[in-house]
Subunit: 255 residues, 2 copies
Amino acid sequence: MTQVAPQIQTKNHTGVYHPPLAALRSHSLFADMSDEIFSDFSHAAQELSRSKGAILFMQDDPAEWFYFIVSGWVKLFRETLEGDEAVIDVMTSGHIFGETAILDGGIHTMGASAVERTVLIRLPASLLKSAITKSHDVALGMLASISRHRRQQTQEIENLNMQNAPQRIGCFLLRLCRTNDIEAETTNFNLPYDKSLIAARLGMQCETFSRALNKLRKQTNIDVKGAAVTIPDVADLSEYVCGRCSNEYPCSDLH
Amino acid sequence: MTQVAPQIQTKNHTGVYHPPLAALRSHSLFADMSDEIFSDFSHAAQELSRSKGAILFMQDDPAEWFYFIVSGWVKLFRETLEGDEAVIDVMTSGHIFGETAILDGGIHTMGASAVERTVLIRLPASLLKSAITKSHDVALGMLASISRHRRQQTQEIENLNMQNAPQRIGCFLLRLCRTNDIEAETTNFNLPYDKSLIAARLGMQCETFSRALNKLRKQTNIDVKGAAVTIPDVADLSEYVCGRCSNEYPCSDLH
DNA sequence: CGTTGACTTGAGTCTATTCAAATCCTGTGG
DNA sequence: CCACAGGATTTGAATAGACTCAAGTCAACG
């Protein structure tokens, strides 16, 4: 069931960090950490690989670990008593999740599962908790990190309230533009994961997603073939999308 | 326009805190603070009274102050480019707002206005910012505070996604039950503010609110006359509401 | 007593959902 | 390499939920 979680060889023979650890080190939560404290984390770190659909933890589980994504995609979700699932977020490499549980009574307030084959580093939640208690810098790093979550969620609430389905999709695409590319006028990229998951992520049904995407195609002459997206004029799309939002277009820093 | 903001007489002749300051002191953000740091805040504190509709700050304003509500009600909102308003939260005495701006680049990410005559204490944002930098305890207090915001927002997103209008109203009423009263089976209370504002707070139109409340009346035999709410059987209501939510009924700690 | 704002109700419309069915795609066994 | 099962996606039709616009009711207030 659970596979063996090997301790990571912290540094190789030339004294360079194991690449995933280097990525971890550069995450904002760890970037300002002293070498001393970081070495506690790096020694306790375990690298995992999980296949599509694997559960990392469930809502209401005691939080033993928190996770850093090395590669792949992870879905965070909450499940209602009636069994429906609300997708809260979908994240990829370079992001951390599950860490907020240490401030929520040590319980995960959402579940997490791998969307496709995913490589992760897991770290003991207790270690982060004590690091925050002991180190002021770590506490400030955590504060910045949670604060980013909060901003993102505020945006999410606004979008759910104000935007209709085509606009939410457009907004999603615009955020992908800035992730994948810079200020090009025309942009090409692939959807990062299944349309059905994007739909869930945006709080709509697959069928609604499909139809809303058609409408968006007509309204903004974007082109979507399979997972391949072409946006001939980003300004055109943002005009259609961003009127119902309180941020001006390059609504950076939210993702 | 702006009225004079008097410095507060910190303590009276018997050395007891001015009552609003005592309330401030017991807020979780200040409760664990050293007397020394708290006195910086209490000396900089200014008491304000604002009439209905008064703007405290606008979205995108530089955050000079953050606020503690002594009495009355305050609305937090965001405004879209097209001019529509999304109500993010409505808060009352004992709560703090505007403090998160110090983690959002010193800019308010939402506007705030008084819903009715409201008494507040305002405190310099810069003071909180430096207190967090200087004091580990204050940083931890802030962490707990933001973390509560985050939990609340996660719940908000779930509710917007999963619940329909009557359920959102029911959920709102259930949360009021636990605020106003304890575990009584039958509960009576008054709606805390206008129905139109509740509607906005729940992300729906006034008309939808009115109709959804009617439906809720029929389905759960609650009784609402004007602002007076009677809930004959709380369990009955929670059964109708909470199936579409990931929390079991006494979903405490969220408000 | 008339005005105003809050609230409700009616009618029509739009959006998103549900249920069903058709297509498309992809990985797998032969 | 090909046919096929099963999931992903799309489309159609009917329905439900929420919104808009318009009009009516009610109560507080000057």
